[in-house]
Amino acid sequence: MLRFIASRLLQGLFVLFALYTITFFLAKAMPGEPFTTEKNLSEESKAYQRALYGLDKPILHQYLIYPKNIITEGSLAVSTSKGRPVKDIISQSFKVSVVLGLSALGIAICIGVPIGVISAVRRNSWVDWGTMAVAMIGICVPAFTIGPLLQIFIAANLPGIKVAGWGNPQDILLPAITLGLSTAAYLARLTRGGMLEVLSQDFIRTAHAKGIPASKVITRHALRGGILPSVAFIGPAFAALISGSFIVETIFQVPGMGQHFVNAVISRDEFLLLGVALFFGFLIVIMNLAADILTGILDPRVRITDNSPK
């Protein structure tokens, strides 16, 4: 198991490096300059700024110095648009993002997985049709439509729930629901598919033949295999939640990291961009690892052959 985790971590490092490379060169290819957003700066002061941030060095040098500084000094450089260390910006906002992301993921799992199980067990009944239609709504109605509607109908009518803002614990509720709904819908569909697949297998028949009550056949024999596709989806789901958080943070004015990413692109702030991108990448690598470990716990066959699928 340790070797398995180590190899996955190494793979994660590789992913982060690829992400860095792509983001770095795309950032370099972005039109415009970092300092043009401010008031008309003279050419000299622009040059001065560039030198200050090390942006005058050859590209290859810049490409190599950034990861070197991360490793040797733990430094993520300084934001060109905010004039503050990127590390500070991230450390101030990452908790918000992680709390929002994890609560959305929690909501998604708590809604999606049971719904998927139920509709698989009641296949082709009105329960199945109904829940899958609702799940389709969750997939097809974008967060930026659901969010404002929740603001109007829930925040306006329920005392204690604010339209926007971040500070009280209950402020998490609406953004997390908005963010989690589409993931819940995907999880419901995946779980349904996984359960149907497992329920059609021979060993379920064996379980029935042993005289096990139907409900126990589902919980003890089918559930483990049935939720595997959903578990494998946790990594991508978290990535989707991060994408979604860009929008949800805007709607509900949540001071998370998503806004920094969008602002960094708009203001051509490459260090902030790289820092946030790498941090998000890191979170996704961790979630993927968690999903892998969980898969290993659920499916004993994976533990032995710790290779990626064929």
């Binding site: 060993f203 028949r205 064996t206 379980a207 029935h208 042993k210 005289g211 096990i212 004993p300 066959r301």
Partner: protein
């Protein structure tokens, strides 16, 4: 009184392409400790017959249209799910064709094999585990105390079938239904598994319903043989009698197509055509289109019935097939 008496069992599947009459009026009985074989081609309804007895037919689309199956004065077909569950896995157990897929890959052998004990016998975990280890040892699994903590994928096919047998017999059931238990195994392992079933059966006094398409296998284990064709039993006789004096044209064709019954170099007989499509209503003798050894001209235009020819030898009374 027989241990199990199946009467006019009818199981149909209501599919989009029409009603599939998988089992269409099957009757047979089973005495205590006896081994009864059901033989037939794939799709002849032999497995569906046994699944119907244990309520393992997926419903819908399946539906038991009629008949009864009396086991210890319980009608298995009409007693309700709860009552049936007390019989299933405790007094009547089943083993399946493919041991690779019939065990749950996500659970330890220990969990799966102790399940019937804890469920039906109310044993606690430790006692059930001890029993299970003993049972594994009895089916010939080496180091059962260690192997029991493993997962199915760590066993070979033959070993898994041994586990299945141990699991099915652990509650000392009165009937064991074996659904093609050797088909998916290597020829060398087949013999071992057959011997094991026989040995365990003698020890526990269990009656066995043995389903197979392989006449060679069935000749080794069965006291009595039912030959099924298109959802019906066409002939029933003691094993020796059936092999020596087959009456129905289908049985004769089956026996003729066993390689071992031929002299070397002689051309092997094959039955022409395909088994009939049971989703279409069959009028008259179902074997007529493939009847080469008898006289198809004389086959009955309506469904033939079983008749006793004496000495417990029953056959469908169709002059064309008996010719």
């Amino acid at each position: 009184m027989p241990l199990l008496e199946v009467n006019e069992l009818k199981t149909h599947f209501h599919t989009r392409n029409g009603i599939v009459r998988a089992v269409d009026g099957v009757s047979f009985s089973l005495e205590k400790g006896q081994t009864v074989g059901i033989v037939g081609e794939s799709g002849s309804g032999k497995s569906v017959t046994c699944y119907s007895l244990l309520g393992l037919i997926p419903m819908p689309p399946g539906k038991i249209e009629g008949g009864s199956a009396l086991f210890d004065s319980i009608d298995l077909l009409n007693c309700g799910e709860k009552k049936l569950r007390e019989v299933r896995g405790k007094r009547i157990s089943m083993i399946f064709q493919d041991p690779m897929t019939s065990l749950n890959p996500y659970l330890r052998i220990a969990t799966q094999i102790t399940e019937p004990l804890r469920l039906h016998m109310g044993m606690d975990k430790n006692r059930a585990l001890k029993e299970a280890i003993k049972a594994l040892g009895e089916v010939g699994i080496p180091e059962p105390d260690k192997r029991i903590q493993m997962y199915p994928h760590e066993f070979s096919g033959g070993m898994r079938q041994r586990v299945m047998i141990a699991m099915a017999l652990i509650t000392k059931p009165e009937i064991l239904i074996a659904d093609e238990p050797t088909t998916a195994l290597d020829v060398t392992v087949q013999k071992q598994i057959l011997d094991l079933i026989k040995e365990r059966q003698q020890e526990l006094g269990t009656a066995v319903i043995f389903i197979t398409h392989d006449l060679a296998v069935i000749s080794e284990v069965c006291d009595e043989i039912n030959v099924m064709y298109a959802g019906n039993i066409v002939e029933r006789a003691k094993a020796d009698e059936l092999f020596q004096k087959p009456l129905h044209a289908y049985t004769r064709a089956l026996l003729k197509s066993i390689p071992a019954m031929h002299a070397k170099g002689e051309e092997l007989y094959t039955i022409p055509g395909l088994p009939p499509d049971v989703s279409k209503l069959i009028r008259g003798c179902a074997f007529r289109p493939r009847n080469e050894l008898g006289d198809p001209e004389q086959c009955l235009p309506n469904k033939p019935t079983l008749k006793d020819t004496g000495n417990g030898h029953w056959v469908q009374d169709c002059p064309g097939c008996l010719a």
